[in-house]
């Protein structure tokens, strides 16, 4: 897949109101492939943490026969992090507390689907 398509997918996701950062992450290496983030969001550590969280929970889900993990969603006091499986990569969105999470989840899944 061309870099242009990666960027296109991310731009669409990052346009959703309340999204502070969107990135495509190499899930094995834990590094960002492409990122569009607001000031103050550092892609590299977020990618590493998101990939680690996803890998750990994916192993847990498969370990108890829950099947392949497709989404991890972290809710915190001031925002959300959504990570969706996209094959060898994952789509990560960081959103503010008041963001329309349903819409963000929808776009994250669409982005992941486009990358598979």
């Amino acid at each position: 897949m061309s870099n242009e398509l990666f960027v296109q997918v991310l731009q669409r996701l990052s346009r959703v109101p309340g999204v502070r950062g969107a990135m495509i992450v190499d899930i094995v290496a834990g590094v960002p492939v492409v990122a569009e983030v607001a000031e103050g969001v550092q892609p590299a550590p977020v990618a590493a943490l998101a990939a680690s969280l996803f890998q750990r929970t994916a192993r847990a889900a498969e370990g108890v026969a829950f099947g392949k993990l497709d989404t991890v969603q972290l809710e915190a006091d001031a925002g959300h992090v959504v990570v969706a499986d996209a094959g060898e990569t994952a789509v990560v969105a960081v959103a503010e507390r008041g963001a329309q999470l349903g819409l963000i989840r929808l776009e994250v899944h669409r982005a992941a689907e486009a990358l598979r």
């Binding site: 296109q8 108890v64 992941a112």
Partner: protein
């Protein structure tokens, strides 16, 4: 996504050059799209379809190319063409479903998404979109009932939007998972009264027994930071007891992520796998609640059940203290 080999590209190019009616135009156009050569892919597709007007893959690819360039109407026309040729095309129903979703035509979006979901039940994007639409679709179909309390929503037969024009997606209210409420007040996607109070068992193994009455419920456990189970009730044979040990470590990851992003304390972690959804939430600094339900449960129902389990766990821990 894999790139085709150079030899394949050369072979397809040669075939199309030799015979403009060759179906090789489809993989070649797809390869051009992946390379970012959208105009070339579009021209190739249009020319190929002149010779192969009933080529479904070509119409689907053309729809994607139009979508790439932001021309949703033309993309929709292509999906419509595909549905004419193949009424149960997953890709076309999915495309139409998202098209109507973006336009805020929720009943029509729902109709197409449900048909796509019937063809391929496991597709996360379709499932997510369906949850989104069902939670907002009023009228004859009504919202999705809670699992175990009714059948799936009926599909409209006419495909037309009912009642007043629905609000655009972007203006639709946030779904339950986006609300910033305490776990005890977690909302439900289903407009129903609060559940009756459940008696709290003092037996750690029967603490969540009342929740077993709901078929999607698999189990719930109170775990500590080492993953040891303090109390828990699980459906026989589910084997989820092993989850605690692995997921307790995930809490550390979640805390680190939230701290790094300056998001404050973690409130919940939701894992969605092919067969089940796992919800984790903090009870105290050292304890967390872990609940697993079957995947078909709507998100709102999951949060509602998590809130009930939270209430039981807190009451149990209060009694223990």
């Amino acid at each position: 996504m894999n790139f085709p080999a150079v030899a394949d590209l050369q072979r397809w190019s040669a075939e199309v050059a030799r015979d403009p009616a060759s179906p090789a135009f489809v993989p070649l156009a797809r390869a051009f799209r992946r390379q970012g050569r959208r105009e070339a892919a579009l021209r190739l597709c249009l020319r190929g379809l002149e010779h192969n007007p009933a080529h479904i893959e070509a119409h689907l690819l053309l729809a994607l190319l139009y979508l790439d360039s932001g021309d949703r109407q033309r993309a929709c026309d292509e999906w419509g063409m595909v549905l004419h040729l193949e009424p149960e095309s997953f890709e076309a129903h999915r495309g139409m479903g998202f098209y109507y979703l973006e336009r805020g035509e929720l009943p029509r979006a729902r109709e197409h998404l449900e048909r796509a979901g019937t063809v391929r039940p496991g597709e996360p994007a379709v499932r997510e979109a369906l949850n989104y639409v069902r939670e907002r679709t009023a009228g004859p179909d009504g919202p999705t009932p809670a699992p175990g309390r009714g059948g799936p929503p009926a599909r409209r037969s006419d495909g037309a939007a009912a009642g007043p024009a629905p609000a655009a997606v972007a203006a639709a209210p946030s779904p339950p998972v986006s609300q910033s409420r305490s776990p005890a007040a977690a909302p439900s996607a289903v407009a129903s009264p609060e559940p009756p109070p459940v008696q709290v068992s003092r037996d750690p193994q029967r603490l969540f027994e009342g929740l077993l009455a709901d078929p999607p419920f698999i189990g719930a456990m109170i775990i500590d930071r080492q993953g040891l189970v303090l109390a828990g009730t699980t459906r026989a044979g589910s084997g989820i007891e092993a989850l605690g040990a692995v997921l307790a470590a995930a809490i550390d990851e979640a805390e680190r992520t939230a701290r790094h992003l300056q998001l404050g304390n973690w409130r919940s972690i939701l894992l969605e796998a092919a067969e089940a959804v796992v919800h984790m939430s903090p009870l105290t600094e050292d304890l967390a609640l872990l609940m697993a339900v079957r995947r078909e449960a709507p998100t709102g129902w999951v949060l509602r059940s998590a809130a009930r389990a939270q209430g039981l766990a807190r009451a149990f821990l209060g009694d223990e203290a």
